[in-house]
Subunit: 331 residues, 2 copies
DNA sequence: GCAGTTCGGTGAACCGTTTCAGTGAACCGC
DNA sequence: GCGGTTCACTGAAACGGTTCACCGAACTGC
């Protein structure tokens, strides 16, 4: 059990400069003190190796300078990329991200969001698993929340970067339909316990409109799990897949390879999200792309704006495009 | 600016139960109080919706129950997978991971490690960018540190999961040599500012031994950057690549495709790490694999053991195997 | 020359826990 | 019935900052 090295406290800096702790506190944050004093305090602090204790600061001020990032499921490569991107963008804004993983579980999502609040994060960015939960309304009461993906129902968010999933779904299903696929397995990460998301509901509506025969199958995004789910669907005779995440589509590639089935000759696959790896597969994965850099920038601008109390756009809708690469042949 | 909902404090619970705050504190942690009182306190706490404030708790006790995870570079897909894996494994041990990204920068690594200490994480897991820094010794004085990858020089770590990079490098270079490749571009994420890591040094020694003509090129792990670096190497006439991360090898695939060069016919590529996606490419990426689940389990066991003061293995060496998939033809 | 500001700074309360050093009562053996 | 433990609990001091209320001195306008 190593003992923590004793750090200098604000009182020691005060003693060294002959000022009160309060003055030191103000000086180091550049408030209400003369320039000459600030310089003196800076010097003394540097000499003593003093740096304000973030925990004590958080307790007293209620702020931390950190921003919570609550991801829906970090098994998903695209969401991993999003998290990394947001982390780096926040760093460029001199802020730190606290990244947590809801693992696709609505209950866990609520727990973690509450913990981030208790940790005094200045704001929260969330890619909600369960956007319909009334919990979000109370969350938005206590700190600025920026939602990515789906808007939070009935909550006063500080901003939202909404994906136009209706268009995304329509593009995907139409593409499959145009290529002659009528019986389609829809692989979605949504857990049974999650209330139907707008996107999922829209899948049913569009399938009806286009006269498609679909079966919705739950598939986790981790490659091994997705492969297993895809393999079961292949065993059940499915040959056309609409995957609600590129990560899941990768599982279809793996499962098809395992059964010696060729893509796109014998199996058709559509992804959703456009992860960088999707362009590297053979054939490339046909998918629907979101502008991930744009999403990152928008979310970070919103959250930083909200924290600093600056005006900012509260709502941006991301439109998808079909990225055709060859994984959907004619059926 | 939303106002934080007022939460119940320990004093209110004390008042409600007619006990002192100290008694409540003890009761909720099941220490030194009668079972009947514990039950009474529990009930009152539940009724008031009381939960101990983690920040105040951290300030008073110096502990948080969180474990810091400092990654070398989260641009790397394999490291992303490792981070996610560790996060989930810690969750299974009822602990939370605080994930930070050093972005390949030794200075940033030191800064972030210090911040995690200041945040009172109970322990730190680090995949060091700069394992030779004397900084780690002082870090290990103030909290348990578990190192993944390279051992920390001159530091009393709580544990280390060391990769046998010597063997990994030897396997890789021998494989390339056996297939008749003599002139090899080594793509490594190591920044110029980083002191040479043992693995990098070993590359030079082994190249010498095997009579290979190598050129070391710095390449970031982000796909776009790796592709660019690989493209420059291709332009310089390189046709055989040893990439020090699968993520970098993906860049070679992309660059080769961009120039219409076939793998393995015209370009040979070796990866390092074995990310799940590597098996999905065509041809599959020949690489050196580490048992990522084993690494996760070992690191988590070590860190949890160190925090709980239980005895645990302090050092595990991971041995690599060659995972031949077809991306290295005969040159 | 006097009320009214502004400036630079102080003292003390406060944030919400944990923990150390007691303390009174019950219980023990003898 | 007496010293010695144990038990269940209390009071107050940390932990290391921030912030509020206030204060004297130096300006300001008139």
């Amino acid at each position: 059990m190593p003992q923590p090295r004793k750090r200098a406290t604000i009182r020691e800096v005060a003693k060294a400069t002959g000022l009160s702790p309060a003055a030191v506190s103000y000086a180091l944050r550049g408030m209400q003190v003369s320039g000459e004093t600030i310089e003196r305090v800076r010097r003394a602090a540097a000499e003593l190796g003093y740096e304000a204790d973030p925990i004590a600061r958080a307790l007293a001020s209620g702020r931390t300078g950190m921003i919570g990032l609550l991801c829906g499921s970090l098994e998903d490569l695209w969401q991993q990329a999003l998290a990394v991107g947001i982390g780096r963008a926040l760093k460029d804004n001199d802020r730190y991200a606290l990244i947590l993983d809801a693992a696709g579980d609505p209950a866990r999502e609520r727990t973690l969001a509450g913990q981030l609040r208790d940790q005094r994060v200045d704001a929260l960015i969330v890619q909600p698993v369960d956007p319909a939960s009334p919990f979000w309304a109370s969350m938005c009461e206590s700190l600025p929340v920026v939602a990515i993906g789906d808007a939070l129902a009935g909550a006063r968010t500080a901003g939202e970067v909404v994906f136009d999933n209706r268009t995304g779904v329509t593009l995907s299903l139409e593409h499959l339909g145009d290529r002659g696929h009528r019986r389609i397995a829809v692989l979605t990460p949504t857990r049974d316990s999650t209330p139907d998301r707008p996107a999922d509901v829209h899948v049913l509506a569009e399938a009806e409109r286009l006269g498609l025969d679909i079966e919705v199958v739950t598939a986790p995004q981790a490659l091994a799990d997705a492969t297993e789910a895809a393999d079961r669907a292949l065993a059940a005779g499915h040959r056309a897949f609409f995957c609600f995440a590129d990560s899941i589509a990768y599982g279809v590639y793996a499962a098809a390879a395992g059964r010696g089935l060729a893509i796109p000759g014998e199996v058709a696959v559509m992804g959703y999200d456009d992860h960088p790896m999707s362009g590297l597969l053979s054939p490339g994965l046909t998918t629907v792309d979101w502008d991930i850099d744009g999403i990152v920038r928008a979310a970070v601008r919103m959250v930083v704006g909200a924290v600093d109390g600056r005006p900012h756009r509260r709502r941006i809708v991301q439109s998808p495009h079909l990225r055709e690469r060859g994984s959907v042949g004619s059926g």
